[in-house]
Amino acid sequence: MTPLLQVESVEKSFFGIPVLKAVSFTIGAGRIVGLVGENGAGKSTLMNLLGGNLHPDGGTMRFNGNSYAPVNPRAARAAGIGFVHQELNLFPNLNIAENLFLTNFPQTGPVIRRGELHKRATALLKTVGIELPSTTPVDRLSNGERQLVEVAHALSFNARLIILDEPTTSLSARETERLFKLVRQLRDDGRSLIYISHALDEVLRLSDDVVVLRDGEVVGQGKATEFDQNKLVSLMVGRELKQLFPKGRSLPLRRALESNEVGAEPRAPLLEVRKVSQPGVVRDVSFSLRRCEVVGLSGLMGAGRTELARILFGLDPHECGTILVSGEPLTGSPRRRIRRGLAMLTENRRDDGLCLEASVADNIALVTLPNYTTSPLRLINFASLRNGLAKIREAVRLQPKLSNEQPVKTLSGGNQQKVVLAKWLLATPQVLILDEPTRGIDVGAKSEIYQLIRDLADRGAGVLVISSELEELTGLCDRILVMNRGRIASEFAPGEFDRERILNAALPT
């Protein structure tokens, strides 16, 4: 049987820098292929070649028995390749049916045949398991449902190969299961799927075959059963990653805890949240964060974790309850809270964390620029700014090859996140709120960011880490709080970190 897709020695360079070097692999009909690799390994470039957004410099592709060289996304679609993008490409102001058939409405002359449109849309929705009328506006759908609509879109032009790019990053556990079931069902119908993800356990669980990319080369491919997580990681980074999480507990905390145990005066908490409520968002939330402590905040999507973080940072109001920092009430705008020593890394760095077009230096200096000015006109003192930048870049281990003038949009996810961190660390915050600090970044950068968080806590800061990856929280945190429908449902001390128990606390009862 000839494979569905054959990629032969495909090459691609940007400005003379090779991004893909003689990449070859095949995808059989009716297979789920997991594609893994660190950020910058060339996954996106490869997918852009398949999708017709970019054109290869060399090599050949064959799809469905024919030579395949799409000139644009439309040609890729016509050939039968569908995409489910990481940033969902749906139009929330249109309804489901319109989104599905936007480029090929059934019509008589210029007029859309609505009956036909909704009949076809309903059939597709049934296939992907959405039980909503096809006239539902997309802005009413959850992320999971939107993802399924994207899959339905790929089915609308009968795609033979469907590429899913990080589909589960914003899905709840239940939505993920639903998606996996659909992916398997499509495979059983004879379609092939490429599944790109940083969640290696998911990749191994779901895929039939695995392709590993590193630095633009295929460094491993074969049946998924031949791989395990450690093998994948070592292939991806090219070395055995011994220790992802910083070892041991921080010394100051241990001392502090010891002094507490011998009956010394309990230390005042750094951040104290007392009975904070906001209708429909969070309910009766109380907890405290001490110096030198890393506290994890776990929970399902929509449990109110990000919402709580936004309230703490002054982005959203809360109806009742108080927030104290070092015993003093915390009020007002984010600007005032930053002065009190707060910092918040948002869950979506591209939209809320970075000025994408601006340079590395401009982004890092965004919060603290006034500190690098000289009186009387408060002009920027570039010498001292350069100095500060150099120090902080080293502290966060930002790739030294990157220039300060480079626009951050050209950086990999890991380096972008380091830029955001550097921005906040320049302000020497006391309380750091990190919302999904390692989302969509590669294993190497992850480990470095964990070390950074630990170091910060060791130097006396309190860190609140929101994460959907349980391993991240159990490996990094001193305590874990679990949110469930706006409440803090339970708290786990280090001895009690148990994946199952934590997950159960997060699940709706």
Partner: protein, 329 residues
């Protein structure tokens, strides 16, 4: 399901123009007995027809998150050329055809500036606003022209008892409504307005779609110009001045968003245009100082934009936050 407070607020904002319109009708109805007669209301519709038609074109542009500031100048150039031709003895149909062609030519110019040279719509159409006004003033040598009677006759004519301007306006609205709601072109415009980049990635011909809305806007401006001419019977050097603002106000009062992707012509823009006309007529009835008119229009525009931005804020708020239903206590 119980409606939440922001949902009620949004609903109120969506219907604010309707409430306001009814309020204005009642107030002026009480002030003037002539207002609520068939003749009075028909007159209102006829007078509003020009703003409606220009506003319909504007709605198309606004839906794509663009703007067309040149509509007033397009009206002026079209009217000036038509006046020259009519006074030179050209027949009415040919003059009308010339007006329509001028609208399309200006629309094409805007379209090329926006899609080919990638100059943002605000600046492109601001440029054509000045160019058009200048061209028209040169053409007329800044003198007012009184048109032959057949233009005025067009404005006063009736077809099966209905004034022709009203029929033209209704036809444009019906055509636009059908286009926006029932054709793939119309639905694709909403996609473009929501997210241009995503629309391009989805394989839509975004350049063609954008070009088309500026052409349509130019065409509607020209038709609106004919309707105004038919009522005034003369082309003054200020003909069409500030009409871009009433057109934008009509569209936005009618619920079309300046941020693109949301809105429509019916009842939307039609209602907005009627409200504006109603207020203007009311000012006449009240014998208000004509110099106050721009102030009132400005107030309406601010109101329209305030409604739009409040609505957008609420929607953005929703898009971001997952709201779960509170348990009954």
């Amino acid at each position: 399901m119980r409606k939440s407070a922001p949902r009620l607020l949004l609903s109120a904002l969506n219907h604010a123009t309707l409430f306001l319109f009814i309020l204005v009708l009642i107030v002026f109805g009480l002030l003037s007995p002539k207002f609520f007669t068939v003749a009075g209301l028909t007159n209102l519709f006829v007078q509003a027809s020009s703003t409606t038609v220009v506003g319909v074109g504007m709605t198309f542009v606004l839906l794509t998150a663009g703007v067309d500031l040149s509509v007033g100048s397009i009206m002026f150039v079209a009217a000036a050329v038509a006046g020259k031709l009519a006074l030179g003895g050209t027949s009415l149909p040919v003059a009308l055809l010339a007006i329509v062609s001028i609208g399309l030519v200006f629309g094409l110019l805007n379209a090329l500036l926006v899609t080919r040279l990638a100059i943002i719509a605000f600046i492109s159409t601001l440029g054509t606003l000045y160019a058009g006004r200048g061209f028209g003033l040169w053409l007329t040598q800044t003198r007012a022209m009184n048109l032959p009677d057949n233009f005025l006759a067009l404005g006063a004519s009736k077809f099966v008892g209905i004034p022709t301007p009203l029929i033209i306006g209704a036809f444009v609205v019906a055509f636009a409504q059908l286009t926006l709601t029932r054709t793939s072109f119309g639905r694709q415009l909403y996609a473009v307005g929501n997210n241009l980049e995503a629309a391009r990635k989805a394989g839509l011909n975004t350049r063609l779609l954008l070009a088309a809305v500026y052409m349509l806007s130019g065409l509607c401006a020209a038709i609106g110009g004919i309707l105004s001419l038919a009522q005034l019977g003369a082309v003054s050097p200020t003909f069409g001045t500030n009409r871009e603002f009433t057109a934008i106000a009509a569209a936005v009062l009618g619920g079309t968003s300046l941020f693109g992707g949301r809105g429509g012509v019916f009842p939307g823009t039609v209602l907005g245009a009627l409200l504006i006309q109603c207020v203007e007529n009311g000012l006449v009835i009240l014998n208000a100082d004509p110099y106050l008119y721009p102030l009132v229009t400005a107030a309406l525009i601010f109101l329209a934009v305030l409604l739009d931005s409040t609505r957008s804020r609420i929607l953005a708020h929703w898009a971001r936050r997952k709201i779960f239903v509170e348990d009954a206590v």
